[in-house]
């Protein structure tokens, strides 16, 4: 893939000597040395800044993350399990036009997915109409029979969604996977922004970037609109965040969100049920809980209903849920719709429920349960990415081009043993963006995870988590597999390229008050 790279040393200043452009879509450069319109100001800044300055800025940012304890936990390593999530300083920039399309596409997709979940846990029309095969659905690891016929508030199953988008070589955004269970990473989105504003304040201001700091507030109001019908104070339901506890990989995020939303961060042992009502144990006695933003997987929620060995859950929670006395967000059983085999049918779902074409396309996906597909994939394994359907976080996958013959053989055996459990996709050249690697600017593969909220309405905070495969040439962006992240800037309409000055002066007043407000607020990110 790097064979066609032509680093032109003549045109490139010191910071860019190692920058390679290959067949993947490059976010910054339209052609070698020629930046795209919306990256020009960043490019100029990078040209002006000496490499030492860049390195110093990166160190300052790393230190800020360390001190604030913005960490995640890596499973399966003994010591040092708490690690800083590597942050790359250079922002990823998305134009207003690109964002408008993403926003529309994701809204459409999440609407259809919610209709799908409502349907399969009730009448199952899409199954009777043979759009989605019945046996495929019922063999999903995350399908919950217990949810059949159960009504959830506003018929919303997925209220918090993080969808992974990739950019194909022709520049179009496509959906790589939906995360409909307990998507994480949103705290890094906010933390990245906070650090970046400190490092590039003028550049940030001049660009006209949409703010994202209000995500926790939007999340809270989304959760509130999902209060159970019989809740006594529907305008102000008691909302809590349920965490598995300190040893969970996303614990930092749980504390961050609870603090920012001003709600209690509870563990399973803080909650109890009585007469199908959920209470939390407080120093003033028991307090009824109405909405639970749960960051605990289905399996561990209620030992009486799901895994009996779970100590993270609340005995009796499911019955309280079924009785409609408490809302769980997301609902139980949403994992069926982000099963990687069901994913392949999402465009069909959109057509079926909304009578529209999918705005954001899927990535071509081969189902290993299909004989033709399987034969094709197994004969071409070195060019495929094979994934286990129920896994996430970069676990349980094979990346053909970077695999050994032995690994491929291993996967071939696994696929043949349990075809339903695997899908394959052609290896995608994820788009590349400039990253700061040891003081010089190099290109690395990235993806984008925007966060979509669905309550009374669909809300997208303009931005998301841009994940970076920090290892050279790597295509895996997961934090558990050596990935990092960078700030994502969504530009305001006409902020760059058109009449910037006029636009700037108009916004200056509001920006000033914005800035003033930000600095007068206490430091609450960590």
């Amino acid at each position: 893939m790097t064979a066609s790279a032509v680093p032109s040393r003549i045109h490139l200043p010191p910071s860019f000597v190692n920058y390679q452009i290959d067949t993947a879509y490059d976010e910054m450069f339209a052609s070698p040395g020629v930046p795209r319109e919306h990256y020009r100001a960043l490019h100029q800044t990078l040209l002006k800044l000496p490499p030492e300055e860049l390195r110093r800025s990166q160190q300052a940012a790393d230190l800020a993350f360390l001190h604030e304890g913005i960490t995640f936990t890596v499973y399966g390593s003994k010591e040092g399990t708490e690690r800083i999530f590597p942050n790359d300083l250079l922002p990823r920039i998305i134009t207003a036009r690109e964002w408008a399309r993403i926003e529309k596409g994701l809204t459409q997709r999440l609407t259809a997915l919610n209709l799908f979940l409502r349907d399969i846990y009730h009448e199952g029309r899409i199954l009777s109409d043979k759009i989605v095969p019945r046996d495929l659905l019922y063999s999903c690891k995350h399908f919950r029979r217990e949810m059949r016929g159960l009504n959830v508030p506003r018929d919303i199953y997925v209220s918090v969604c993080g969808t992974d988008l990739v950019r194909l070589p022709d520049g179009t955004f496509a959906v790589l996977e939906d995360n409909l269970r307990v998507p994480s990473g949103v705290s890094y989105m906010v933390a990245n922004r906070k650090v970046l504003k400190r490092v590039f304040p003028t550049l940030f201001r001049d660009y006209g970037v949409w703010p994202i700091d209000h995500y926790p507030r939007e999340l809270l109001s989304t959760l509130r609109t999902l209060a159970p019908d019989n809740c006594a104070y529907r305008q102000d339901p008691t909302t809590v965040l349920l965490t598995p506890g300190v040893s969970n990989s996303a614990y930092f995020e749980h504390t961050f969100l609870a603090q920012q939303m001003g709600i209690e961060l509870v563990e399973g042992r803080d909650l109890l049920t009585h007469d199908n009502v959920v209470y939390m144990r407080t120093t003033a006695g028991l307090r009824r809980v109405d909405v639970i933003y749960r960051r605990v997987d289905d399996d561990f929620l209620d030992p009486l209903c799901f895994r009996p060995d779970s100590t993270l859950g609340v005995p009796g929670l499911f019955n309280a849920y079924r009785a409609g006395n408490v809302t769980l967000a997301n609902a139980i059983g949403t994992g069926v719709a982000d099963d990687k085999a069901v994913y392949a049918y999402v465009p069909e779902m959109i057509r079926y429920y909304l009578n529209e074409d999918a705005i954001l396309p899927n990535v071509p996906t081969f189902l290993m349960s299909d004989d033709m597909h399987r034969q094709h994939v197994l004969s071409d394994l070195q060019n495929m990415v094979v994934k286990a359907v129920g896994e996430s976080g970069g676990y349980g996958m094979l990346i053909g081009p970077q695999s050994t013959a032995q690994q491929r053989e291993e996967f071939r055996v696994r696929v043949l043993a349990d075809p339903r459990n695997y899908i394959a996709q052609p290896t995608l050249a994820l788009s590349c963006a400039p990253c700061l690697i040891d003081g010089s600017v190099e290109s690395r593969h990235i993806d984008l995870r925007p966060y979509i909220l669905m309550g009374e309405k669909v809300t997208l905070v303009p931005g998301g988590l841009t994940r970076v495969a920090l290892r050279k040439g790597s295509l895996v962006v997961n934090s558990s597999q050596g990935g990092g992240s960078k700030d994502t800037w969504v530009l305001r309409e006409g902020a760059i390229g058109e009449d910037i000055l006029e636009e700037m002066s108009k916004e200056l007043t509001s920006l000033h008050s914005d800035v003033a407000q930000r600095f007068s607020m206490p430091d609450r990110t960590a």
């Binding site: 001190h67 008691t238 506890g245 961050f256 609870a258 109890l272 407080t282 120093t283 003033a284 307090r287």
Partner: protein, 335 residues
């Protein structure tokens, strides 16, 4: 609308009460940090006095120190290095300084979202600092700096806590833990002291016992404050009065009990549980300390008096536990 409760909760906060688990963690964090502070102070003072004394006398003092800290007694000859290791570093001893700092940090780590970032940073720094040290002969020679850094680390933490955390229920639980622990450890210290030094409580202190009394005051950072109140003439009766009944000095038992009482009252108001057991016991103990005269206490026997204080402290602790942290759900649902 919700039924009006009392003014405070109506005006500032919608719901009364915090999570019991969180309150419990903050309480224990306060207790552990206070214990680490107390142990540092006592061991440091002992080490300083040790330099002034003959080896035979020294051995006796070490035993006294163990007793005052309620650490397990040592059979036979005392090896100071080993003993220090047990009091400062040993993870097997749950009350060693390192164990206490680690336990305080662990408690705070579980409720990080409840404290300010600066608080967490400071306690984490203190923890990283103490686990970095290694025991040994060399260490003993520089131990003074170590104890000072633990004390200063704890002071800084409490200062940051006061300055950056809302003085609401959570803050009150930290104070509660801190002062319950202080009342308890001070009482034990005085008990062991008065068991050893029983003669001549009336007049000025004799030369042989002078160091014992200076050590006691030093262990309570009270030497300067005592001298200000009673000059440098050390009179056992006045020392006892100062450490037991002084209302203004932070390391007196009365001061600690006053604080426990104040914290329990505020927590009681915030949780609508003001009439409950912990407040009653603390109020009783406070009244006792406020109205006692040292002469009366001595006449009736200081041992019995201190024993009673310690018993009351233990009762306050278990009452807090039963009312706020681990109450019976059945009784709660019935009420």
């Amino acid at each position: 609308m919700r039924p009006p409760r009392n003014f405070y909760t109506q005006t500032f906060k919608r719901d009364a009460g915090m999570l019991s688990r969180v309150a419990n963690s903050l309480y224990w964090m306060g207790r552990y940090l206070e214990r680490a502070e107390h142990t540092s102070r006592l061991v440091n003072v002992e080490l300083q006095l040790w330099l002034d004394q003959s080896p035979e006398l020294g051995a006796g003092r070490w035993r006294f120190l163990l007793e005052a800290l309620r650490a397990p007694a040592v059979e036979g000859a005392v090896d100071p290095t080993q003993l220090l290791n047990a009091l400062v570093f040993s993870r097997a001893n749950g009350s060693s300084i390192v164990s206490c700092v680690a336990a305080a940090r662990e408690n705070l780590r579980h409720v990080r979202e409840q404290c300010s970032t600066r608080m967490w940073e400071q306690l984490n720094r203190l923890y990283l600092d103490v686990i970095d040290r290694r025991p040994g002969e060399e260490w003993i020679l520089q131990s003074h700096d170590f104890f000072l850094s633990v004390l200063e680390g704890a002071y800084l933490f409490h200062g940051i806590t006061d300055a950056t955390m809302s003085h609401g229920e959570g803050w009150q639980f930290i104070q509660l833990g801190r002062y319950v622990e202080r009342a308890d450890t001070l009482t034990t210290l005085l008990e062991t002291h008065f068991q050893r030094v029983t003669n001549h409580l009336e007049g000025p202190v004799e030369a042989a016992e002078y160091l014992e009394w200076v050590g006691l005051l030093g262990g309570c950072v009270a030497l300067e404050a005592y001298c200000k109140a009673h000059t440098a003439e050390i009179r056992p009766l006045r020392v006892a009065e100062f450490l037991l009944l002084n209302p203004e000095f932070p390391h007196s038992i009365r001061f600690a009990v006053d604080r426990v009482n104040a914290a329990l009252h505020l927590i009681g108001d915030l949780t609508q549980r003001s009439g409950k057991l912990p407040t009653r016991i603390a109020g009783r103990l406070r009244a006792q300390l406020s109205f006692s005269q040292i002469e009366e206490i001595m006449a009736e026997g200081i041992h019995a008096y201190l024993q009673n204080v310690r018993k009351e402290c233990a009762e306050i602790h278990s009452a807090i536990h039963d009312i706020y942290f681990d109450y019976s759900v059945e009784a709660e649902l019935a009420s």
